[in-house]
Symmetry: C2
Subunit: 376 residues, 2 copies
């Protein structure tokens, strides 16, 4: 049906009406007192969401551009970094690091499996010469729906002393990432994820320790030079209308409260996982390691399921990336998603399974989800 699209992908995520209306306001001058006040307000609320008093910088860039900034500002060519990866995005940070001449060592796990913190500990303990200057980790791996144990891994990094750079693109605003409490150095995310805003902006939090490393970092940079953003919040024309939208969405998030936001995402993850199991489908991420932002389902019928979901129920699910293309579909439950949306998507999934004659479509999936939603 026209104009009835329901987005259940891990970005762009659904955007609330008042945020869309804020987006549609006439732009104002980005050097005006009014805008500077808005930027200050947005920055303060981003720090609340990021749970940090570190500097919080706003870039006109996608999540990848923002992560690139998070990497290149703190190292010099030849510096060794440990890139921890178990999916497409983690692999990308190894590619970015190599593109800028970093000496990349890796700790990996197969796609769909979590990183074993002991492997990270072993790699860091072996580095008695402290050659590793930074550890780069993807918290919620969007390509597989696996969340890595950032808290434990970070403890090993802290024991070693390297900087930790966190891709929190799909975990920020979905689960607890207490930057100051854990001492995370560089943490990146993007507007089209938990922030309930369309794509086009990224955010980086930078610790005092990372700024120390910045002073001697020699990778060439200009547009993504975070020192420029530190000095002047908007050294280059900022995305004024997206910032209007972000102001509105952050107000909504503050009203809901961090604990409630995290609980909602965890509840939706649990409901989706219970339903998928009850429908006789296979979860791609093992129990205990499912991302609160996205649930990946492994099935050879992935593309047929996505087609029917779109055509019959106007629900957009994400497909598999790279070698997972055609082998998994991914349910995004990130940002502006309520309990009803989860039941809608799962009920439509049961209808789709019935139509395709695959899996179980006896109502057990929706019932399992409803059980979780009503008990939490």
């Amino acid at each position: 049906m026209e104009n009835k699209l329901m987005l259940m992908i891990p970005g762009p995520t659904p955007v609330p009406e008042n945020v869309l209306l804020a987006l549609a306001k006439h732009p104002i001058g980005h050097r005006s007192g009014e805008f500077i006040q808005i930027q200050a307000d947005v920055t303060a609320n981003l720090k609340w969401l990021y749970q940090t008093t570190n500097e919080l910088l706003l870039l006109t860039a996608s999540g990848t551009g923002t992560m690139e900034a998070g990497i290149i500002n703190f190292f010099s060519p030849g510096d060794r970094v440990l890139v921890i990866h178990n999916g497409k995005f983690g692999e990308r940070w190894a590619l970015v690091s190599k593109a800028f001449g970093l000496d990349v060592v890796e700790v990996t796990a197969p796609w769909g499996q979590p990183i074993n913190p002991a492997d990270v500990q072993a790699a860091l303990t072996a580095d008695s010469a402290k050659a590793i200057k930074g550890v780069i980790i993807t918290h919620s791996e969007t390509s597989t729906g696996v969340i890595n144990d950032l808290e434990t891994i970070n403890k090993h990094v802290k024991a070693h002393g390297a900087l930790i750079i966190v891709d929190a693109v799909t975990s920020m605003g979905a689960t607890n990432v207490p930057i100051d409490e854990w001492g995370l150095d560089v943490v990146c995310s993007g507007s089209q994820k938990g922030f309930m805003v369309p794509p086009g902006m990224g955010f980086v939090a930078v610790s005092a320790k990372a700024w120390e490393a910045y002073k001697t970092a020699k990778i060439p940079k200009f547009y993504l030079d975070l020192g420029k953003y530190r000095k002047d919040g908007a050294p280059f024309t900022p995305p004024v209308n997206l910032i209007f939208a972000l102001q509105a969405s952050l107000e909504m998030m503050k009203k809901e409260g961090l604990e409630n936001i995290f609980a909602r995402h965890h509840r939706h993850r649990d409901a989706c996982r219970a339903a998928v199991k009850a429908m006789g489908l296979e979860l791609y991420a093992p129990d205990g390691h499912g991302s609160p932002a996205i649930t990946a389902v492994s099935t050879p019928a992935a593309e047929e399921i996505r087609k029917v979901m779109k055509k019959k129920y106007d629900i957009v699910l994400a497909g598999g990336q790279d070698h997972l293309s055609g082998q998994v579909f991914r349910i995004g439950h990130l940002g502006f998603v309520c309990d009803r949306d989860i039941l809608s998507a799962l009920a439509a999934l049961e209808g789709t399974l019935a139509e395709l004659g695959t899996g179980k479509s006896n109502g057990a999936g929706v019932a399992a989800a409803a059980q979780i939603l009503s008990s939490k």
Copy 2:
């Protein structure tokens, strides 16, 4: 008065209502067939506006990020480039080039004066060894309201054989930049300028000759690696809603037609310049070299004038940048600006001069502008 702001700055520029409404649509998936069709439509219309069959790439970045992409993709560290500059933005491209290890030689003119094409010719003729690999030029210098003679300068570059990289940030969509006819290699602009869209996106047109240079260019890059955008129009999540808006604005521009758009900007430039002279104020750019996007006015009362214009008439003018701060104000007449807007701004300027007791406020300024608007 609340919500009565009139933007007369060189970006963000005013945005039409239907473009704002397109911006406020619910986002869709950027890998969907529907979005790929929109991106194809937008790209085709951008090529129409850019007057080119070259590849046209869309980045999530400000104008500076887009120009950085236009520079770093085609050279290796140590390569010599000639940066032509006579204002803040031209100077910035020298800084970007140096940041990435290029060997920068310069042809300059004082701020407020046009580049002398003969100076460029002399610098290129002297380079008999063809050490200069690229020439970087700002077409319309936003900081001063001077437009450089790109057509003539480009002929000298063509005679030499270097690549030409053009900052057309405030000239594209304001005056004729026939890329294919002139053989311009790399041409950059940004959404918040002549495109009538809020800030957040940049566009780069790349010639076959530039792609040849790309093959051997070794400056490190990832997010701004144009080869990735050439291969996959949206290698990283694109700013979906800004692209909806751009689709709507390009449709409007096609209806108006290139010749009419250029004539309107030239008419507004001429009207502003005639009015400023009749008001006894000093134009910062000499006759024959005024930008069709922006008119800079030199007066020690610049900041007082801007304050009254904003407070009493709800019109935002731009101030001077860097050492011109407090010494000039700038009237933006770029993008979604009609004849009435020009008369409104100039009438308010006369009112402001009367209030401040400076310049001439006898109606001659508005009359001079009206004369030009009615005769063209």
